[in-house]
């Protein structure tokens, strides 16, 4: 009955979209709903960001010919029993300045579509999917829509729960590249398999002791034709990884090693050296106290399904997690965030969290939390190979840090909630930041920066709250000092008002003492939210999960709408 209502027979998805899964999406839905009492469920969401640009030469803000930019997407997911299908429409007419991180997105069309079905313990997905093995060092297809990072696979995926704690996954496909009235794909084929064994499902006695050991192994390869007239390039590049996790009530210990066979590509300057990486993490936590240690090394681990990919954001087969703390306050988060150096780095970090108990002397009514974090990242200890006839590039000792420090961050945060329910968060950050290496600004000196941040939130009356943020950055390098002030007034559950000003002073050019005021109003109802901003937005780096994109300075009106249904 649904089919006849829609006249599905007159639609020709093949010709319109040249896409098999989309056709399947409609036909399977019509089959499944036809004449059955359970129509299934539709879920979806919508996200629209739009900006109208003003010219502002003081901050270097430019206006595109269209005067505005809009990024919009909406997902529709249909589920019925063990069946699910979904698609996402996307529209960039044109995309906002500085978006996306990699290949341009333009036009309107379908950016993602899939069908999926479960038969007992087997799950089959056809079309687009996201997947990750272990920490992602050899395989992670994922999306960060806000950044415009999307390396979704398009192909087929199987997930199988073999029982007794054994989980198997397999995937084959090509990756999303850019967007031109629909997503475009890269030239390389990615093939990936993974097995994970949970020992306490295999040996229930372990579970009784509250312990668990998980072992995992994966193999990933890519195929890309060799059209190079000079070099003999490997058309199939394989990589493998092994991992282990041990947990009990207090400890959580994880280790993963990855190895990649020779993969000459643009990112590594076409060297034939194998790549390798290792991630180590250990955490201990009990109520009110936790500490964690982490270390990793990445050596020649850039892995893209096109060896000539135009940027480091495109067609990544893997993901190299940074181990530095992602800051949440505006100045440290958007001026000097760290991004992994896939060609080589060695990093270390440590965390400590302690909560003074409620009703203790230092804890007060609600408890007081202190958190300390330290991270440092270095170059690889490597030496170039003289007369490098095999194009191996360099030699390095495993897990050995070099002399050059890329990044260091020491930060301490104190969080206290008072009797009147007001809250105070004090943060101090000391940072060393090699902007030449991290942001690719050759010749710029290493930045030594200190940040102090006061964040105070106070309820004024029932459901009315005022939050004030003061941030200061001291540095003699880059653009000099910054001061940021924010006042945010909320009326629960609906309204949100804020005024933000950022002021840059003490830089090398005295005349450039620039203010960046920005006002915002937002309204939320249920799963819907609208926010309107007007003012100057500072050029900066917008990061999610350790991947960052440059956002240019802008002046004007912006609107952001999100909705979930």
């Amino acid at each position: 009955m649904w089919g006849s209502k829609l006249g599905l027979s007159s639609i020709r998805p093949f010709r319109l979209f040249n896409s098999f899964p989309f056709f399947l999406f409609l036909s399977v839905i019509s089959l499944h709903t036809f004449g059955q009492s359970d129509p299934g469920e539709i879920h979806g969401n919508l996200n629209v960001d739009a900006q109208y640009y003003n010219e502002d030469s003081t901050i270097g803000a430019t206006v595109p010919p269209e005067q505005m930019g809009i990024n919009a997407w909406g997902n529709v997911i249909y589920t019925r029993g063990k069946f699910s299908a979904g698609l996402r429409f996307e529209s960039y007419e044109p995309s906002m300045l500085g978006y996306p991180a990699g290949q341009p997105y333009s036009g309107t069309g379908i950016g993602y579509r899939y069908v999926s079905y479960k038969v007992d313990e087997l799950e089959v997905t056809l079309g687009n999917f996201f997947e990750q093995f272990g920490s992602g060092m050899i395989f992670r297809a994922y999306e960060e829509r806000g950044l415009g990072v999307d390396n979704a696979m398009d192909g087929v995926r199987l997930r199988y729960n073999a029982g007794k704690g054994l989980y198997l996954k397999g995937a084959v496909g090509r990756q999303r590249f850019g967007f031109e009235d629909g997503f475009t794909k890269g030239p390389g084929i990615v093939r990936a398999i993974d097995a994970e064994l949970s020992m306490n499902e295999l040996f229930p006695s372990l579970a009784d002791n509250g312990k668990n050991i998980t072992l995992g192994g994966s193999f990933v390869s890519k195929f890309q034709e060799d059209k190079d007239p000079l070099l003999v390039l490997p058309e199939n590049v394989g990589s493998f990884a092994g991992r282990a996790r041990y947990t009990n009530a207090k400890w959580n210990i994880f280790a993963e090693y990855a190895h990649k066979i020779n993969d000459p590509n643009v990112q590594n300057d076409f060297i034939y050296k194998d790549g390798q990486g290792m991630v180590l993490q250990a955490n201990y936590s009990i109520k009110g106290f936790a500490f964690g240690l982490g270390a990793h090394t990445y050596d020649n681990m850039s892995f893209q399904s096109d060896r000539a990919a135009p940027t480091g954001f495109d067609l990544n087969v893997n993901f190299l997690p940074p181990l530095t703390l992602p800051h949440t306050y505006n100045l440290p988060a958007t001026l000097y965030p760290y991004a992994t150096q896939p060609n080589g780095e060695v990093g270390f970090q440590g965390d400590l969290v302690y909560k003074f108990k409620k009703k203790s002397k230092l804890g007060g009514k609600y408890g007081t939390t202190i958190a300390i974090n330290y991270a440092s990242v270095f170059s690889l200890d490597s030496t170039a190979i003289p007369n490098d006839e095999n194009l191996d590039g360099y030699k390095t000792n495993f897990f050995s840090p070099g002399d050059q420090m890329y990044f260091q961050d020491f930060n301490i945060k104190l969080h206290k909630k008072f009797k009147n329910k007001s809250e105070l968060v004090l943060t101090y950050i000391n940072m060393v930041y090699d902007i030449d290496v991290i942001q690719g600004k050759p010749g710029d000196p290493v930045i030594f920066a200190d940040f102090a941040i006061v964040d105070y939130s106070i309820p004024l009356k029932k459901r009315h709250n005022l939050r004030i943020e003061l941030q200061h950055l001291w540095t003699k390098q880059d653009k000099g000092n910054w001061i940021t002030g924010l006042a945010e007034y909320t009326i629960s559950p609906g309204w949100f008002f804020s005024i933000l000003n950022q002021f840059n002073y003490g830089g090398p050019v005295d005349t450039k003492q620039i203010n960046y005021p920005l006002g915002s109003v937002g309204y939320t109802k249920g799963g819907n939210r609208i926010q309107v901003n007007y003012g100057r937005q500072r050029a900066g780096i917008f990061c999610v999960g350790g991947v960052c994109r440059q956002v240019p300075a802008a002046n004007g009106l912006s609107v952001s709408i999100t909705s979930t249904f």
Binding site: S198, G288, T328, K355
Partner: protein, 160 residues
Amino acid sequence: MRIFFSLFAFVFTLSISAQTVPSAIVQTIEGKKVDSKTFDNDGKPFIINFWATWCAPCKRELNNISDVYEDWQEETGVKLIAVSLDDSRSAARVAPYVNGQDWDYEVYIDINADFKRMMNVNNPPQTFLVDGNGKIVYQHVGYAPGDEEELYEEIKKLLE
């Protein structure tokens, strides 16, 4: 364009009655795989909250609820399921944070964002209230202090 309209027509003709929690695999902090479809609270309502260790308003919300959580549980039997959207970069920080803050929530990590996609979450924090029959009856996006009071009123409505 015709197919777009057909699709929209299709979406709206389907009865969008009460929604249930869809199926996706999430992990416990210990690494055990759990199907979100099996989330329940013995016939009592429960909350699903999406958060992340890098999300300041998320932590503010869960810390504020934590201060009243004992009272909520005593009075209504409600349970809060906190689903972390931390990826492999920060997933290792989840257990230390949760324990460091002394939270009593049921915590999962949605490392591949499968559950986030199935629940159509745009940005955290986002909160869903599920009634005793497994139907999603209320949701809220973002956090402002006081939002937890509205959530609690919604929970109490379910028990009337």
